[in-house]
C-alpha cells in the first residue's frame, strides 16, 4: 500500500511562517533626545503548524513564549507581520471587510482566560450569548433568538432561566460556560481557547474540561488549546506544540511528546513540573531563566540553557523540520547527538 495520505481533506487550519513584531520603542521625543534606536519584540517568530478537523492541538510554553499571541493572530485580533493562516484551504485576511471574512468569523471563535472580564458586566446573559446570532443575522425574530439562546445554555450545562441574569451573579466556572455558549452560537468548526481554565479552581476546571471534551465529540469541533499547565494539556490534547521565545521547538502527538520528549527544552519543562503522584523520577536541576525578549540569544534561542549546545547552536537558528514522525527545531536532534 502506497503512502497515500489518509487525510484526503486538507487540514482545517494551516499556519505558515506566522510572525508578529511589536514595536516597543520609546516615544519619538525620547528617541531623538536620548538617541535610542527603535526596539522590537519578536513575540512570534515564524511559527508553522496544522490542525486537522476534530482534533485538539495544544500550545504550551512559559510566560513570554508567544502562545497567546499566536491565538490572537489566528482570530485576527492582531495583524501578522508576515506569514499566513489558511482555513479550509483559503487564506484568512482579517483586514479585508468582505463577505468571505464574515463567513470565516462564523466558523472560528475564541474563548478567553479571564472569566470575569470576558463578559460585559452590563449586559444580561441572553444579550451576551445572542450577540453573534444578531451580528451575523442568523435569526429572524425574537422567538427564534430565545430558542437558540436557551439551547446553547442547556448545551453548556446551564438553565434557560439563567438567560435573564447578569454575569456577576455567576461563579467563575459558570461564566466560562457562558463564554463557551457564546462561542458556539454561530456553530463554528474551530475554537481557539486561550488558557480557558487557568483562572479556575481545580474542581471547576474538571467540570469545564469535561464539558469541552463532550462538546468536541458531539459537534466535531477542533480546538487550539493554549495553556501553561502540562497536566491539563495532557488530558485534553491530541497533539502538543512546545513554544519558546516566539518559536515552536517541538510538535508531536501527545503520547510521543510525554513519553519521549526529544527537544532539550521539552525535557526540561517536563522535568520541572511538580509531580503530584511522585513517580520518583530523578530530576535534573533547571538552569537559568527565560531570556529578555528584547535581546533574544543568537542562533537557537535556547542555547544559553541547553546542556547540548555547540558552536552551530550559537550561530545558526535551527530549521523547523519533520524528523522521525515529529516536528522539531534542534541541531542536536538533527545531528543525532541526542
Amino acid at each position: 500500500m502506497t503512502q497515500v495520505d489518509h487525510k484526503t481533506q486538507p487540514p482545517l487550519v494551516e499556519v505558515r511562517d506566522l510572525a508578529k513584531l511589536f514595536d516597543v520603542s520609546s516615544p519619538w521625543l525620547n528617541r531623538v533626545v536620548e538617541r535610542q534606536p527603535r526596539r522590537y519584540v519578536h513575540a512570534v517568530d515564524g511559527v508553522s503548524f496544522d490542525i486537522e478537523a476534530g482534533r485538539t492541538l495544544a500550545l504550551v510554553g512559559e510566560s513570554g513564549c508567544g502562545k497567546s499571541t499566536v491565538a490572537r493572530l489566528l482570530v485576527g485580533l492582531h495583524a501578522p507581520t508576515r506569514g499566513q493562516v489558511l482555513f479550509d484551504g483559503q487564506r484568512a485576511d482579517w483586514h479585508e471587510r468582505s463577505a468571505r471574512t464574515r463567513a470565516l468569523r462564523r466558523r472560528m471563535q475564541m474563548i478567553f482566560q479571564d472569566p470575569y472580564a470576558s463578559l460585559n458586566p452590563r449586559w444580561r446573559v441572553r444579550e451576551i450569548v445572542a450577540e453573534p446570532l444578531r451580528e451575523h443575522g442568523l435569526v429572524r425574530d425574537r422567538g427564534e433568538l430565545d430558542a437558540n439562546v436557551d439551547d446553547l445554555l442547556r448545551a453548556v450545562g446551564l438553565s434557560a432561566l439563567d438567560a435573564r441574569r447578569y454575569p456577576h451573579q455567576f461563579s467563575g466556572g459558570q461564566r466560562q460556560r457562558i463564554s463557551i455558549a457564546r462561542a458556539l452560537a454561530t456553530r463554528p468548526a474551530f475554537l481557539v481557547c486561550d488558557e480557558p481554565t487557568s483562572a479556575l479552581d481545580v474542581s471547576v476546571q474538571a467540570q469545564v474540561l469535561n464539558l469541552m471534551k463532550d462538546l468536541q465529540r458531539e459537534r466535531g469541533l477542533s480546538y487550539l488549546f493554549i495553556s501553561h499547565n502540562l497536566a491539563v494539556v495532557r488530558h485534553v490534547s491530541d497533539d502538543v506544540g512546545v513554544m519558546y521565545l516566539g518559536r515552536l521547538v517541538e510538535l508531536a502527538p501527545k503520547a510521543r511528546l510525554f513519553a519521549s520528549p526529544r527537544h532539550p527544552y521539552t525535557r526540561m519543562l517536563l522535568d520541572a513540573i511538580p509531580d503530584l503522584h511522585m513517580s520518583g523520577r530523578p530530576r535534573t536541576p533547571v538552569q537559568g531563566e527565560v531570556p529578555n525578549p528584547l535581546q533574544p540569544p543568537s542562533g537557537c534561542a535556547f542555547h544559553p540553557r541547553c546542556p547540548h549546545a555547540n558552536a552551530r547552536c550559537r550561530s545558526e537558528r535551527p530549521a523547523w523540520q519533520s524528523l522521525q514522525g515529529i516536528k522539531i527545531a534542534c541541531h542536536a536532534v538533527e545531528e543525532g547527538r541526542i
Binding site: E62, S63, S171, G173, Q174, D201, V202, S203, V204, Q205, A206, Q207, L209, N210, K213, H228, L230, A231, V232, R234, H235, F258, M268, L269, D271, A272, I273, P274, D275, L276, H277, M278, S279, R283, P285, V286, E289, V290
Partner: protein
C-alpha cells in the same frame, strides 16, 4: 529558646475569624485547629474562598479590618500571639515569623535597593552594626542562590527577574532568623521551571534553619513536592489533615477524594476527570452540619444536621461522619 520536643512550634486552636457586616457577622474561619513542629513543612490547600490565605493572615496578625479574630488561640513557641497589642505583634512579626507572599513584584519596595531593605529588616530585629548587617545580607542572598551577591545587593528590585525577586523575598523573610515562615502562594506567579527551583530552595532552607513552614497554595503539585503534612480546607474549615502521601493517595474525606480525582495526572490517561458538581458555598450561605453535604455523593441524614469534628482515619484525620459509622 529550645522547646521540649513535644511542644509544637506553632499551635492553632479553634481559630475563628469573622467579618462583621451590616447584615450580621460572616464567619470566614470556623474552628480551625492544627500545629506545626520545628523543621516541618505543613501545606494548607484549598480552593478559592476556602480560607487558607486568611489563616496565614491571622497567624501573622495582618487581617484586613473589619475582619477580626473572634475566638480560639494562636500559640507560637508556647506563647499566645493572637491577642498581642500591635507594637508587640510587630516585634514578633519579622523576628519570629517571616512572611512570603505571592507577588514578588509588590512585595519589594521599588524605591529602595535590595540591600537597603535587607539591612533595614536585619537591624530592626537583630542587634548588629551596619557592616555586620550587610555581611549577613550578602550571605542570605548567597544562600538563596543569587549569583554575585556582593554586586547585586546594591541593585533595585526592577533589575531582578521574577524568580530572582522571589529569592530576594525569601532572603528577606529569613533575615531575622524566624522560627516560623508563612508562605502564601509563593510560586503561583512564577513560571513552571522557576517554581521547581523555588520549592527546592524553600525546602532546603527550612531544613537548614530548622524553621517551621506553613505553605499555603491551591496547587497540589507543589504540595506533593514540598510538604511533609497537608491540611485540606473547605468553606473555612479543615476537612482533612495528615501526611502528604496518605492524603494524596488514600484520601479519607469525599471532598479530598473529589479534589484528587479532578486533577489531571501526568502519568495516566483518563477520558473524564472526576467532577464535583456545584461550587463552594459563599460565606453568607454556609450549609448546616457538614459544609460539604450538598455536594457529597455519600451524604447521610446526620451530615445535614451535625457538624463533624476531625476523626482518625488511619494515618490521617478527616471531618466526616462516614468514618464514625465505619462505613468508609
Amino acid at each position: 529558646m529550645t522547646l521540649p520536643p513535644q511542644v509544637p512550634l506553632l499551635e492553632v486552636e479553634r481559630l475563628r475569624v469573622e467579618f462583621p457586616t451590616r447584615r450580621g457577622a460572616l464567619l470566614a474561619l470556623d474552628e480551625v485547629s492544627f500545629s506545626i513542629a520545628a523543621g516541618e513543612i505543613l501545606g494548607v490547600v484549598g480552593e478559592s474562598g476556602a480560607g487558607k490565605s486568611l489563616t496565614g493572615a491571622a497567624i501573622i496578625g495582618l487581617i484586613e479590618p473589619p475582619g477580626r479574630i473572634a475566638g480560639g488561640e494562636i500559640r507560637l513557641e508556647g506563647r499566645r500571639i493572637d491577642k498581642l497589642p500591635p507594637a508587640e505583634m510587630r516585634r514578633v512579626r519579622g523576628r519570629q515569623i517571616g512572611a512570603i507572599f505571592q507577588d514578588p513584584l509588590t512585595s519589594l519596595n521599588p524605591l529602595y535597593t535590595v540591600g537597603h531593605q535587607l539591612v533595614q529588616t536585619i537591624r530592626t530585629h537583630l542587634p548588629l552594626s551596619p557592616s555586620q548587617a550587610r555581611e549577613r545580607a550578602i550571605d542570605l542572598l548567597r544562600q538563596t542562590g543569587i549569583p554575585a551577591p556582593e554586586a547585586r545587593i546594591d541593585q533595585y528590585p526592577h533589575q531582578f527577574s521574577g524568580g530572582m525577586r522571589q529569592r530576594v523575598v525569601i532572603a528577606l523573610a529569613l533575615a531575622a532568623e524566624p522560627r516560623l515562615i508563612v508562605a502564601d502562594e509563593p510560586t503561583t506567579a512564577l513560571d513552571v521551571s522557576i517554581q521547581a527551583q523555588i520549592i527546592f530552595l524553600l525546602k532546603r532552607l527550612a531544613r537548614e534553619h530548622h524553621a517551621a513552614v506553613m505553605l499555603v497554595t491551591h496547587d497540589m503539585g507543589v504540595i506533593a513536592e514540598a510538604c511533609d503534612r497537608v491540611a485540606v480546607m473547605y468553606a473555612g474549615r479543615i476537612v482533612e489533615i495528615g501526611p502528604v502521601q496518605q492524603v494524596i493517595h488514600q484520601p479519607a474525606h469525599p471532598y479530598t477524594r473529589g479534589l484528587m480525582g479532578s486533577i489531571p495526572a501526568m502519568d495516566e490517561d483518563r477520558e473524564r476527570l472526576t467532577q464535583i458538581d456545584g461550587t463552594m458555598p459563599r460565606l453568607n450561605a454556609i450549609p448546616s452540619g457538614c459544609a460539604f453535604h450538598p455536594r457529597c455523593a455519600c451524604v447521610m441524614p446526620r451530615c445535614r444536621q451535625e457538624r463533624p469534628e476531625l476523626m482518625d482515619a488511619g494515618a490521617t484525620r478527616a471531618a466526616c461522619w462516614l468514618l464514625a459509622e465505619g462505613a468508609v
